[in-house]
């Protein structure tokens, strides 16, 4: 069966989604989702091992040879992203059981798991496919199901947030289709490897330039790059806790991967960063994102919204790494994909624990929470240290490589800006620490226990991993560097 792993990676969640819908009795749909996400984790782990030792895996759907047939193509870059997505899925699913039951009501639980599995399937599909149009289809599967997931939030503003995301997401997706269509018109193929080959022989025409523009703008909308991030804060704030954690840790990461794939594999580095002045554009936008979003995060009373803005800032770091267009910079971007998924996923899960107990994530309601829910708050703080970039956390590792990349490129001011921006993170994390530990709990506060273990353990798995990979960096840095070399080596 090992040769079919690439197909099973997407097919298992695809089968689990309708099954979740059929078995609506009590927790059964949760068990199906658990099976789906855990088996995907195993598969993606095996795929990464295969790729690291045996090179690129190419799987032909329906035995139709590419470029005519749809090809699933796994190299180090997407094997790594697959591992991120499925690991987050595998940790979030056990957490979801209590949280979803509390936030949704028992009767609608199966709807959540169906959409969740579809979203999971879509994200994995985007990552694994080697066909440009197939990528669009999977992107829409994941986007449509994430609109549904966000709209399931209790607050009525969740509906408007989902609607806003739907409109902007569809515009982004349509831009991507236009770009793919123009590339198809120019080359007559949709297979990514084939596209790259055929584009390399062609001089820059207006069609290719337009395709490049449409693709970059469309993908930037999906990954919430600074001026196009307007959908993100509302969507993450009003979505159910599990959904915020899952989407924050995976959806934007997959979009960043798509950007990498288009910029480096399909278009040449020379085209993306030489002919087109994309490096300076991305640099400026990334720096504005880092500072503006961090500054806005400082003034948010709602912690979920604070983390959402912090996500926009962290996406800025990833894009900054990509804009350096050298091995250390791109490796830092990929590394931060993984690291940020761990930290932000863990922190959103911690917020979900608070919401489970005190039904609020407003800073005003959190006075003294550090003594009432010590474990959850500790997880939040450790995650926050990672966001700041304190040594021995994953955040430090990404920033280290980011600074290295900046010096290699000769942009020392970018390195200085990275460090300066970390100070802003100190401010918004400290606000929370101050309220949670130093303020006394209100007199009439009801006695609450810490979150149930089924929620606390997944939270700590992610937070613990963010410490572990801050100390032992063999796997992450190794894979990220290999991936960066592969991406840049093509050009």
């Amino acid at each position: 069966m090992t040769e079919h792993l690439a197909a099973l990676q997407v097919v298992i969640p695809l089968i689990c989604a309708p099954l979740c819908m059929l078995v609506r009795y009590r927790d059964w749909s949760w068990i199906v989702a658990l099976f789906g996400s855990w088996s995907c984790l195993v598969i993606s782990w095996l795929l990464l091992q295969q790729v690291m030792t045996g090179g690129i895996i190419s799987y032909h759907m329906g035995d139709w040879a590419p470029p005519l047939g749809i090809e699933y193509r796994v190299d180090t870059v997407n094997a790594f992203v697959l591992l991120i997505v499925s690991a987050i899925g595998a940790v979030v699913t056990p957490y979801a059981r209590e949280s979803v039951r509390a936030e949704f009501g028992v009767n609608r639980v199966y709807l959540f798991y169906t959409s969740y599995m579809l979203c999971f399937c879509g994200l994995l599909g985007v990552t694994i496919t080697g066909d440009a149009f197939n990528l669009f289809v999977f992107l829409e599967i994941s986007s449509l199901s994430s609109y549904v997931l966000i709209a399931m939030g209790k607050d009525r503003r969740a509906l408007t947030a989902a609607y806003q995301y739907l409109v902007l997401g569809t515009i982004g997706a349509t831009f991507i289709v236009i770009g793919i269509g123009l590339l198809f018109a120019e080359t007559g193929t949709l297979n990514m490897a084939d596209l790259a080959e055929r584009l390399a022989d062609k001089p820059l025409s207006r069609t290719i330039g337009a395709a490049f523009g449409f693709l970059v703008v469309g993908i930037s909308l999906k990954l919430a790059l600074f001026p196009l991030h307007l959908w993100l804060p509302n969507a993450y704030t009003y979505a159910p806790s599990v959904v915020s954690a899952f989407l924050a840790a995976t959806a934007t990461k997959v979009a960043v991967y798509v950007l990498l794939r288009f910029l480096f594999t399909i278009f040449d580095v020379k085209l993306s960063f030489g002919v087109m002045p994309l490096d300076s554009i991305l640099l400026v936008l990334a720096v504005i994102a880092m500072f503006a979003a961090s500054a806005v995060a400082i003034f948010q009373p709602n912690l979920k919204r604070m983390l959402a803005y912090s996500s926009v800032a962290q996406i800025g770091y990833m894009i900054l790494g990509i804009s350096f267009a050298n091995v250390n910079g791109v490796a830092a971007g990929i590394l931060h994909l993984f690291n940020h998924a761990l930290m932000k996923g863990g922190m959103f899960l911690a917020l979900g624990c608070f919401f489970y107990r005190i039904a609020s994530v407003n800073l005003d309601d959190m006075a003294g929470i550090g003594r009432r829910m010590p474990w959850t708050m500790a997880a939040f703080v450790v995650g926050g240290l990672g966001l700041i970039g304190v040594p021995l956390t994953v955040g430090f590792i990404s920033k280290w490589y980011l600074v290295l990349g900046a010096f290699e490129r000769g942009w020392w001011f970018a390195a200085a800006l990275v460090l300066l921006c970390s100070l802003l993170a100190v401010v918004y994390i400290w606000r929370v620490v101050e309220v949670a530990y130093l303020k006394p709990a209100p007199e009439n506060a009801p006695d609450i226990e810490d979150a149930p273990p089924s929620m606390l353990i997944p939270t700590w798995i992610l937070i613990g991993a963010s410490i572990y990979y801050g100390i032992n960096t063999d796997l992450t840095v190794g894979a990220a560097k290999l991936a960066a070399q592969q991406l840049l080596g093509a050009g």
């Binding site: 099973l8 097919v11 695809l14 089968i15 989604a17 309708p18 799987y59 759907m61």
Partner: protein, 151 residues
Amino acid sequence: MYSYLVLRVVAKLLMPFIMLFGLYVQFHGDFGPGGGFQAGVIFAAGFILYALIFGLQNASRVLPRGILRFGIALGVLLYAGVGVYNLLVGGKYLDYNVMAQNAVHGQHLGILLVELGVGITVTSVMVMVFFTFARHRQTKGDDQDGGSRPL
């Protein structure tokens, strides 16, 4: 019941032809224009016509919500199941060649089953979308006499 006699008679007359045309498009998809998407929509159009003329309540007696939900899941499972079956008998995912004694028969059988799955899901989804919106209007709207009234 209300007396839209012409509408009701014509709808009853049309119904078998719509279904027959749906089946034709469904099975013609193997070797000509047609297939599951189009056939599914035609089927759904038939049921929607029925619901428009005879009221939502009667239509949901023909196709209860549970069956629709089952149909949506079944179609996807049929499609994915064909792929997995191909894996198990030694081909690639969705490689129909290995499904029967030779490649030609295999391709026929495979595409037939996959299109059937697509057809079932599309029909169920379209009818479900219509029912959901229509029921919404009825429960929220001003007419209180239930679904026996034409929409």
